[in-house]
């Protein structure tokens, strides 16, 4: 029972951060900086649109203008990101989407961590039990009987009778 409880707590613990992810993705409110941080600059700097500070950056500057345009239409963050994803491809998003194959990116680390935690707990319990349960005392070795013993028994029996 205890073990089951521990497993449930563990799984819930692992799912908690995931729920944060999902909730964060579903948040309808949006700020300019949030959208900037959700998009990757395509100038090769490897930073988000928000972080790229290249002078006259050929990617970040037009993208910022486009974010403003999209925000002006009243779209929520998801819709704006969907627009950019569709127009420029998924690589423009600074993190994988939470659907389809990309869901693996988000779930695998937590799933494996959960499995690892279960393994550690089960292994540790096994090691504790191994320590607590002393090995059964070795049974006294049964005397090995040889053909000679059989003959001797028979002779003794005959002698007694």
């Amino acid at each position: 029972m205890r073990r089951r409880l521990a497993a449930i707590v563990l799984v819930l613990g692992c799912l908690l951060p995931l729920s944060v992810v999902v909730r964060a993705e579903a948040d309808p409110s949006v700020s300019f900086q949030e959208v900037e941080e959700s998009l990757t600059c395509q100038c090769g700097c490897g930073l988000t649109v928000h972080s790229c500070n290249h002078l006259q950056c050929p990617s970040a500057l037009p993208l910022r203008a486009e974010i403003r345009e999209q925000m002006a239409t009243g779209k929520n963050k998801e819709a704006i990101l969907a627009y950019f994803g569709e127009k420029y491809g998924e690589k423009i998003l600074s993190s994988p989407t939470t659907e389809g194959f990309n869901l693996l990116a988000w779930t695998i680390p937590f799933v494996l961590f959960g499995i690892g935690a279960m393994f550690v707990i089960v292994t540790a319990r096994h090691w504790v039990r191994r320590r607590i349960v002393p090995p059964p005392p070795a049974a006294p070795a049964a005397p090995v009987r040889t053909a000679y013993d059989t003959v001797l028994d028979k002779e003794l029996k005959d002698f007694d009778s």
Partner: protein
């Protein structure tokens, strides 16, 4: 001189190959002469690599632009300091520099062990020389540093301006030393597997090497963060860039290893796991180098992309196959009689700590390679950036911080709930009270509240550990508190040095939390004389001036920093325009206090109107990251110092069932 360098590298290649072959033959045939000859060859490899490095340095300093490397990465106007640093500024030079560190460490290992560990040494030599052979193959056949041009250009193309920074001169050497340092425990692990001597000799022999490697990996990561903070000018220090991740992953597994080996030393357990950890750590150092060199994933830190990727990948595969094959072969010997007295023990806390370290390493690895997987499976390029890594790693990092607090107060072998409660109640209460105080003070950021509370909790456990130790010495020895403190640390450097390292880590968590939860930023275009406000500062833009030198043209903005109406500092964020190669760079201006940095970037400007775009950031608590690094260095120094008297066999010697930890 350069011909001497080329010749030296060619000789080095032959000698390294000879050392590998003779070590193995010597070990298999038990011929000491062969082993000695191999060791001499390995020392000779170090000698010839030193000659090659000296030759390249000579070419750089004398501006021999006929050599392609010198022409590519230096110029006659480059200051001497950076001319020397150009040794590791390019592909071939950095591989040569790597070799220098590797063969130097190999030479020290050989000299250290000339009279001990003789059974292990042939395999240690063979492993270290096999790694050297790979790098020697690179610099001999793939990317030779002494390659000559068909003509001599009048001037070199100069070092990448982004690399012309103090931190970039010490970041790569630190990181390389950390990476290469991991080769030493790995080589001993391979020797232990090959010989079947799988007790803790290899771990004890390499403890200081592992600490040293870990120390330099820590510094390398921190120096890289400082460089990014000062040079890239985006207001942050860590962007979860693939190359940053590549340096971070071996640090994680190496830290897990440092904790896990304590269990093997104390209880002869976890032999397989420790092998796995050190193999992973070594492979991750090569993987990191592969990422940096191959260009398979784009990075802001990668300055040396080339076609070396397949070679590194092949070497990575070869070493993985050899090491795991050896491990599988020795599994029957590695399987120890693992036993735990209780689930509530320091050992279990360490198991969980290892799980979290490896969990973070895996999550980072997964996020780093997921774009490649996505492209291979779906044919779609995607980006895995900071939002992913922060979301996945932040909860794990906080769990790790919690364990950092719990670990020291749980006894080895067996703790009772009562003792745990006694040890943890006060620090835990202080942590909770700290969190409540922050909440009452208006803090509402969930992760920040959790992180700060945990930082307070962990600090309290450490302070209490010191307090208990000092009190015990005061009572038993009648020492004054400061004497008791010094002697307490001196008598058990490993344990208390470890606690000091933990203090450094807590300080870093303060910085991570402050900068991620409470960072403020503002971008504004201003006329001379205009003011604007951010984070309690009033900033007054006074204008822009230019400066020209043969090497660089400067644009310097002048910004007065006011607090409560008083001028506290004048900052000069810059744009530099390097003339060779033509490239603009950002030089940020920082007002640094313990509470946080005011960080200014000159984003844009108009020559005619003198208008400037200023990006201003307030990064709370960021100084704790750098000071935390200093404390970490101090703790490692304390830990690494040799202990004069051998430590008494601690936890399991007596009949006492409960004993507060010694490590």
């Amino acid at each position: 001189m350069t011909d001497v360098g080329s010749m030296a590298l060619a000789i080095g290649w032959v000698m390294a190959l000879y050392a590998v072959v003779m070590s193995l033959i010597g070990a298999w045939t038990r011929k000491r002469d062969f082993v000695a000859s191999a060791e001499h060859a390995a020392l000779a490899v170090w000698g010839v690599v030193v000659v090659a490095v000296a030759a390249l340095l000579h070419a750089l300093v004398t501006h021999d632009f006929n050599i392609a490397y010198v022409a590519e990465y230096s110029s006659s106007t480059l200051p001497l300091y950076y001319t020397v640093a150009a040794l590791w500024g390019g592909q071939a030079g950095s591989l040569l520099f790597w070799l220098l560190i590797l063969t130097s460490m190999s030479a020290v290992v050989l000299l250290q062990n000339s009279g001990r560990n003789r059974e292990l040494m042939p395999y240690v030599t063979a492993t270290l020389m096999l790694i050297s052979l790979f790098f020697l193959s690179m610099v001999n056949f793939i990317t030779p540093p002494f390659e000559r041009l068909a003509f001599t250009p009048p001037e070199g193309r100069d070092l990448n301006p982004l690399l012309q920074n103090y931190w970039m001169t010490i970041h790569p050497p630190s990181l390389y030393t950390g990476f290469v340092g991991c080769s030493v425990p790995f080589a001993f692990a391979m020797a232990a597997l090959a010989t079947g001597r799988l007790d803790d000799i290899w771990i004890r022999t390499t403890r200081r090497w592992t600490l040293l490697a870990w120390f330099f990996l820590s510094l390398g990561n921190l120096f890289g963060a400082e460089w990014a903070y000062l040079v890239l000018g985006w207001g942050g220090y860590w962007a979860w860039d693939p190359v940053e991740n590549a340096a971070f992953m071996p640090w994680l597994t190496c830290t897990a290893f440092l904790h896990s080996v304590m269990i093997q030393e104390k209880k002869n357990m976890m032999k397989i796991w420790n092998m796995v950890l050190i193999i992973l750590t070594f492979l991750l150092t090569i993987f990191g180098t592969f990422l940096t060199r191959s260009g398979v994933i784009s990075s802001v830190h990668s300055f040396t992309q080339s076609g070396l990727g397949p070679f590194f990948l092949s070497f990575l595969g070869l070493m993985a196959v050899i090491s795991f094959a050896l491990m599988i072969w020795r599994l029957p010997l590695l399987k120890s009689e693992n036993e735990l007295d209780s689930l509530l023990s320091r050992e279990t806390a360490f198991l969980m700590n290892n799980l979290v370290f490896v969990g973070i390493a895996f999550a980072t690895f997964w996020g780093t390679i997921f774009p490649v997987i996505s492209e291979a499976v779906r044919g779609v390029k995607i980006t895995v950036g900071p939002p992913f890594f922060n979301t996945v790693n932040a909860p794990l990092g906080l769990l790790l911080l919690f364990l950092t607090g719990v670990g020291p107060v749980i006894a080895w072998r067996r703790a009772s709930w009562g003792s745990l409660r006694r040890n943890i109640l006060i620090p835990f209460s202080i942590g909770i009270l700290g969190g409540l105080a922050l909440f009452a003070g208006g803090m509402r950021h969930f992760y920040a509240l959790l992180s700060f509370s945990l930082c307070i909790f962990v600090s309290s456990t450490i302070v209490m550990e010191f307090y208990r130790g000092v009190r015990a010495r005061q009572v038993m020895m009648g020492e004054a508190p400061h004497v008791a403190l010094v002697r307490l640390i001196a008598k058990n450097r490993r344990r208390y040095g470890g606690y000091i390292v933990h203090v450094g880590i807590v300080m870093m968590f303060l910085a991570f939390t402050g900068t991620s939860a409470f960072k403020q930023e503002r971008q504004i275009t201003v006329n001379p004389g205009d003011s604007f406000e951010i984070g309690g500062y009033t900033l007054k833009y006074d204008g822009i001036e230019t400066k020209d030198t043969p090497h660089i043209a400067y644009l310097l903005a002048t910004v007065g920093v006011f607090q409560d109406g008083e001028l506290v500092e004048t900052l000069h964020p810059e744009k530099r325009f390097y003339k060779k190669p033509e490239q603009p760079t950002t030089e940020v201006a920082i007002r640094s206090t313990l509470g946080g940095d005011l960080y200014l970037v000159l984003g844009g400007f108009d020559q005619d109107t003198k208008m400037a775009t200023i990006q201003a950031y307030v990064n709370p608590l960021v100084s704790f990251l750098w000071y935390g690094g200093l404390v970490l260095a101090l703790g490692t120094f304390v830990t690494i110092l040799p202990q004069r008297a051998p430590a008494p066999a601690p936890a399991y010697a007596s009949g006492s069932r409960e004993r507060v930890a010694t490590e």
